[in-house]
């Protein structure tokens, strides 16, 4: 008797659950799941969450290490928390080195560089994508060919060019040399070509010149592409290391964040607590940027298939 009840209850439970499931799946337009498929889905969830946790372990541990007293960084056995939680480490970073200067320099050069890239890429993209002129395609091929040259080949002669200009150890040298690459122009040209010509023709007929058509028709229609270009450009400037390392001499006034972080490592020697705090601080802005813009980033990568790294 009791087994009967138990059996029937489980059956109804399964039925109810199954029905609910079918309904959910129907709403999503999918076939209902077999129990085995559901077990597999649960296992998939568990494994992906474990993988994600392991993946984040270095950053999480770094964060907690940044809160420890320096003497306990490498205590045995290792622990997440030290004997005290020192938020003051984060403040001390700013006293130890010219950390605000590094952040300021990174912000300034990244924003200025991004603005230059956007202006140059959109105007050139317009000329290549929507205006007719002799030799356009040949020049464009030359543009694309330069994409093949790795930055590492360029840094040596670029440093020489900077010496000729008298630009070594200046902001110009941090902003301009790598702001004229063909990538942005290529990206914008591709995007502009997809905009229907009728829109532009209508403006032209109404008497708007190319400058007005560009500013009032083309640019507003391309906001999302420009945003994607802006984010990738900003990130590449923000994280750049090799070129700033080469072209700045006086790190205390012109060092960008990555260069500053690296020199921090040399200066502080054993101050691992401050190094971790500084590293965590340097990660915050870009992490926020990614969280806020994640949908656009996915769209951008799908659209361009790339993104200047």
């Amino acid at each position: 008797m009791s087994t009967d009840i138990a059996e029937s209850t489980t059956r109804t439970l399964i039925a109810v659950d199954g029905e609910e499931h079918v309904e959910v799946e129907k709403r999503r337009g999918r076939a209902p799941m077999t129990p085995w498929a559901r077990v597999r889905l649960i296992l998939a969830h568990i494994s992906i969450y474990v993988a994600a946790a392991l993946f984040m372990l270095p950053l999480v541990y770094a964060f907690f290490s940044a809160l420890k007293p320096n003497g306990e960084m490498f205590a045995m056995p290792p622990s997440l928390f030290g004997s005290e939680i020192r938020w003051s480490n984060f403040a001390e970073v700013f006293e130890f080195g010219p950390f605000w200067t590094y952040i300021g320099n990174s912000l300034f050069t990244s924003i200025a560089g991004t603005l230059v890239v956007i202006v140059v890429s959109t105007t050139a993209g317009y000329a290549f994508g929507r205006l007719r002129w002799k030799g356009r395609d040949a020049v464009f091929v030359l543009f694309l060919a330069t994409l093949m040259v790795p930055a590492e080949v360029l840094v040596i002669p670029m440093f020489q060019v900077m010496q000729w200009f008298g630009w070594v150890n200046t902001y110009q040298s941090l902003i301009f040399p790598f702001a004229f690459g063909a990538f942005g122009t290529f990206l914008m040209r591709q995007f502009f070509r997809g905009i229907p010509y009728e829109l532009e023709e209508a403006a032209r007929v109404d008497g708007a010149g190319p400058v007005r058509t560009f500013l009032q028709i083309i640019v507003p229609l391309s906001k999302s592409a420009i945003a994607v270009l802006a984010v990738f450009t900003f990130l590449s400037f923000w994280n750049a290391y090799l070129w700033p390392l080469i072209v700045t001499v006086d790190y205390n006034t012109l060092g960008t964040l990555p260069v500053g972080l690296a020199s921090f490592s040399g200066l502080t020697g054993t101050r691992w607590d401050l190094q971790m705090a500084a590293s965590i601080i340097s990660m915050i802005p870009t992490t926020i940027l990614v969280i806020v813009l994640q949908k656009h980033l996915v769209k951008g990568i799908a659209m361009a298939g790339l993104g200047g790294r």
Binding site: L59, F74, A124, W133, V153, L261
Partner: protein, 303 residues
């Protein structure tokens, strides 16, 4: 008459106006490209044939720099290190990020958040990432600490051991770069036509079969693209070994770009550094060309 005349007039004065305007639009890019890409490229070729110290006399020396490369005790090891890094890094990174993208299928809850999570190291400053790993890999760091307290095992000193240092550079690089390819693959997977997937499902394709025989071939253009880009960036690896091991122990993890950097900016021999950079460029072009040749065998494009 008027009909045939109209386009002709267009290619007259109007076209000239448009060409002038186009030049105006394109000139910032053209000037920038000339100054900051064309001039350096030409200069680099010239420099590679000169004794070119950072300061002081420059003298033409023919192809001597290219010969000196192979006499330099660190150049061939650097070339080897770059190749070893690439051979280890590219397959690991591509396969793992593909597996990750496929696992993060539409049925996974919180896949958006998980994607962001795996993408974070891609955008955080590489130097910061490397510093974190450097702390973990210290002899008293987390990895060895846990191994000792949990299993009583003493791990090798990863960054000071000739054999382990390169492996750690690779592992750290995979960790930091995996999110980028994952996002490319995710974008490609999302664009798979539902009709094809449905057809495969009706034909009984499930699980591994579905993944290996349907999804992977269909996104093979994305895999091809990611492989090429990953290979190019890995041939240019610099920051990870520079910060993690300083190229050591000895020169065991010094890659080509670090060698170029050292020749140019530590030893002030810009000519030799430029010659080394051209060898790197030749290597990149060759490897990329081979990949394009080989793509016919495994990349499926829809036509």
């Amino acid at each position: 008459m008027t009909i045939t005349n109209a386009p002709k007039r267009r290619s007259g004065s109007l076209a000239k106006v448009e060409a002038r305007q186009a030049l105006g639009f394109a000139s910032p890019a053209l000037v920038g490209l000339a100054l900051f890409t064309i001039v350096p490229v030409v200069l680099s070729i010239v420099m590679s044939f000169f004794d070119w110290p950072t300061f002081g006399e420059r003298t033409f020396n023919g192809g001597t720099n290219y010969l000196r490369l192979f006499e330099d005790p660190n150049f061939l090891p650097a070339l080897r290190n770059t190749l070893v890094f690439t051979v280890l890094y590219v397959p690991l990174s591509v396969v793992l990020s593909l597996a990750l993208a496929i696992s993060l299928g539409p049925r996974i809850r919180g896949r958006g958040a998980l994607r962001v999570l795996f993408f974070i190291p891609v955008v955080t400053p590489m130097v910061a990432n490397v510093l974190v790993w450097k702390m973990l890999l210290q002899p008293q760091g987390l990895f060895n600490g846990l191994a000792q307290t949990w299993f009583g095992v003493e791990l090798p000193n990863f960054l000071a051991d000739k054999n382990w240092a390169m492996i750690m550079v690779v592992i750290m690089s995979v960790w930091q770069g995996i999110g980028y390819n994952m996002l490319i693959f995710s974008a490609a997977l999302e664009q798979l036509p539902e009709s094809v997937m449905e057809a495969a499902r009706i034909d009984g394709a499930r699980g591994f079969r579905m993944t290996w025989s349907i999804m992977v071939p269909m996104i093979s253009p994305a895999i091809f693209f990611a492989t090429i880009m990953t290979m190019i960036t890995s041939l240019q690896v610099f920051v990870q070994p520079q910060m993690l091991t300083g190229g050591g122990p000895g020169n065991a993890t010094q890659p080509l770009v670090m060698w170029i950097y050292n020749q140019g900016f530590k030893f002030q021999d810009l000519g030799l550094a430029a010659a080394g950079a051209w060898i790197l460029f030749a290597l990149i072009i060759t490897v990329t060309a081979i990949q394009f040749k080989a793509q016919k065998r495994w990349v499926h494009y829809e036509h």
